[in-house]
Symmetry: C2
Subunit: 434 residues, 2 copies
């Protein structure tokens, strides 16, 4: 495996009274064996729910997405990805991997997931609509924010280009059924890709919802799925309840909650994983937060949050489970020039690489949390690429589904959010806000 999991900072041997006996974690993980077998059956059958388990081996669905990406890349300098929640966060996370001067063949992406008129207007002002593309993503095809954005952008496009060119610059991803978004696409003859019926938004990162944006900037879509495949095969196989398995991660979360950890902090020491924290936060919150159950996912980022949240983490209430993600960066990045820091007080920095400092801080924070009795799991990545990202996504999706299993709840619905949507429409219909 290219990811190592160190759970020792959560176990009694290292953490003392605040820790869990290893045997307890392993027993709880073992209790998930029937669930793992059930999931393995779905994979074996090649059909059934949850469908996200079946994505790692698929390739046929990538072809039309690749064609669309190629067409948009050729025509556009900028592409707007409209969508919110699960229609956006996976793509954002993958795009962060391409944080490099993009080759001229690749457009800049803008993930438009909100409806604040101020920023939206300024974004449109900056774009040349003749060279701008747009992809609207909504599983249901009826997301108000996405439809609002899309309609405004289509109108702006029609002012800049002839209607006949619209289909070359605008496209949608939605379920293969009737909906307001589908009707819009039909009316304007826009290309359309299918959102998998059996893959909910927060589990869609390895579908074309996440992979189309990745392809737009030249990332290797198949490699994401290969990384996910390695994880899912091991996770549902004979080693599926070992200490580094998603089952053990789920067991750890639920056992920690029983001992008072109402919050789960994910703290990567990798800027490119900052958006991964947002993706995880939706996954965990929407899948588990129901029936009064669930824990609150918290997104942090190291080292910067050492200067913001660490005081609370170390000396505030002991109500958090920590997962730190390290990337091996020793020896990487610019060197601190000794001719500039020729100060004995800075001897610890002179000639060190920036990656050394990052690495030392990640290890020091993990150690300090553990010394202060805070349960801390450490993931270490050998490198960061499409394969590893795919593996990380699959690991955390499985961990979440298995945690739901332990809580006895349905990981795949979100029954509570409808009420607010209905109310918002009533307010809109009623007119002028007060």
């Amino acid at each position: 495996m290219s990811i190592t999991f160190d759970l020792s900072g959560c176990l009694s041997e290292r953490l003392g009274a605040a820790g869990l006996p290893e045997s307890t974690v392993l027993e709880k993980a073992a209790s998930l064996r029937p669930a793992l077998d059930r999931l393995a059956e779905v994979r074996k059958a090649g059909q059934g729910d949850p469908e996200f388990l079946l994505l790692p081996e698929r390739r046929a669905d990538l072809e039309p997405a690749r064609d669309l990406a190629a067409a948009l890349s050729e025509r556009c300098d900028d592409v707007l990805i409209l969508g919110t929640g699960g229609s956006s966060l996976g793509g954002q996370t993958l795009y962060a991997l391409a944080d490099a001067p993009l080759a001229p063949a690749h457009p800049r992406l803008h993930f438009v997931d909100n409806v604040d008129p101020f920023g939206f207007e300024r974004l449109l002002d900056r774009l040349d609509m003749e060279r701008t593309g747009v992809v609207a993503i909504s599983k249901s095809g009826s997301t108000a924010e996405t439809l609002c954005q899309f309609a405004v952008i289509l109108e702006a496009m029609l002012q800049a280009v002839d209607e006949s060119r619209l289909a070359g610059q605008a496209a949608i991803i939605t379920e293969p059924k009737e909906s307001p978004l589908a009707a819009l696409a039909e009316r304007w003859r826009l290309p359309r890709l299918d959102h998998n019926l059996g893959v909910g938004g927060r589990f869609s990162v390895l579908s074309i919802v996440g992979l189309l944006p990745a392809m737009l900037v030249g990332l290797d879509a198949a490699a994401f799925r290969e990384g996910a495949l390695e994880v899912v095969e091991r996770a549902l196989g004979k080693d599926g309840t070992a200490l580094d398995s998603p089952a053990a991660g789920a067991a750890l979360a639920i056992l920690s909650q029983e001992r008072g950890s109402s919050q789960s902090v994910l703290m990567p020491y990798v800027d490119r994983l900052a958006d991964f924290g947002l993706w995880y936060r939706q996954l965990w919150a929407e899948s588990l937060g129901k029936d009064g159950k669930g824990t609150t996912p918290i997104r942090a980022l190291g080292p910067v949050d050492q200067h913001s949240q660490l005081q609370l983490y170390l000396q505030g209430p002991a109500d958090k489970l920590f997962t730190l993600i390290r990337l091996e960066t020793w020896g990487q990045g610019p060197r601190v020039p000794s001719k500039i820091v020729d100060d004995p007080r800075l001897a610890y920095l002179a000639d060190r690489h920036m990656g050394d400092l990052l690495d030392a801080m990640a290890r020091a924070t993990a150690e300090t949390l553990i010394r202060n009795g805070r349960p801390t799991r450490v993931l270490t990545l050998k490198r960061l690429d499409e394969f590893i990202m795919g593996a990380l996504f699959m690991h955390f999706m499985l961990e979440t589904v298995l945690a739901a299993e332990l809580l006895g709840i349905d990981a795949f619905d979100q029954p509570a959010v409808e009420e607010g949507k209905v109310l918002a429409r009533e307010y809109l219909a009623a007119g002028a806000g007060q």
Copy 2:
């Protein structure tokens, strides 16, 4: 006041059993009267701690900052603001206010608050060092991350420009005393502005630490202080324990915690306040998270987090206090063109402004949270400008200081974070990470 506070969604009259009696909140707020009087004395004397209370009326310290900003603006297309935690988050928040096509006279700012070598190198690659400025901010003058970044950037600058030009492009802000950063500035003859000795990083946004970046992009520094002045005068005066006061906000937080709210969610429905959430998160966490006390601040953003966190907020554990921030946006932004959404299912959207949708969603979410028994406070802003931002900053700083008073802890220290820093230096000295 240009900000209204609606606490009714936290009170028993509206929230039922999950709410607090209004009289209980007012009594708790009234118990803060001696603390308010003590703070009022500091203001009357014009000296003493906490010094942040004295900033709203100061103007003299803005002159040298304005001169530096003018000089950097003339020479630079890009300015890097180095610093982390309190040396960065206030400036970032203010910069977000200037989210508009900047006039050509103003440089782009880059807040470099982390030490990930990957992103750092790519940022440097994109910059023309002949037209780039840098301001290193560290209160103590010994922050490892900032020193590391600064040394690398100074070396890069020296490769692009003559040493004699360095003082025109690089500057520091630090306390007026000896430190590694001060020594660096002296060695390279760089301009230096003073960090107030009595203003901790997380309370420094209205000092030049926050206001220099604001001035670099043409914002009105004095107006921030005027907004803060209006709040501090009222908060420490005869109305200082009314239901819309910082004292009542502190009372609400502490009383809610006693009833099980271990988390405090700040959810603006304003993209330009997304970074304000990060600023608040440090303020609340570092000031209160000690002695096993404090609550966890959580940064959310509406409406986008309705598609990520709302399910948990409504049906997960009832362990959160919510503060929503609305901006009056009805009638603002682009209209949804009815010729494009001529679908009866979208009648609720046709001809509506994007700002109508934002407004309806903010109100609907507040109402839904309250109907589900979740304590919810709503702040409404008439507009968003320097004055209002200054008022918001001061309100939340006072609320935090007064919450610490109710908890009986020192809001101004952060004793726990030293351990990790020492350990990181040991790891660096020991060499190669494992």
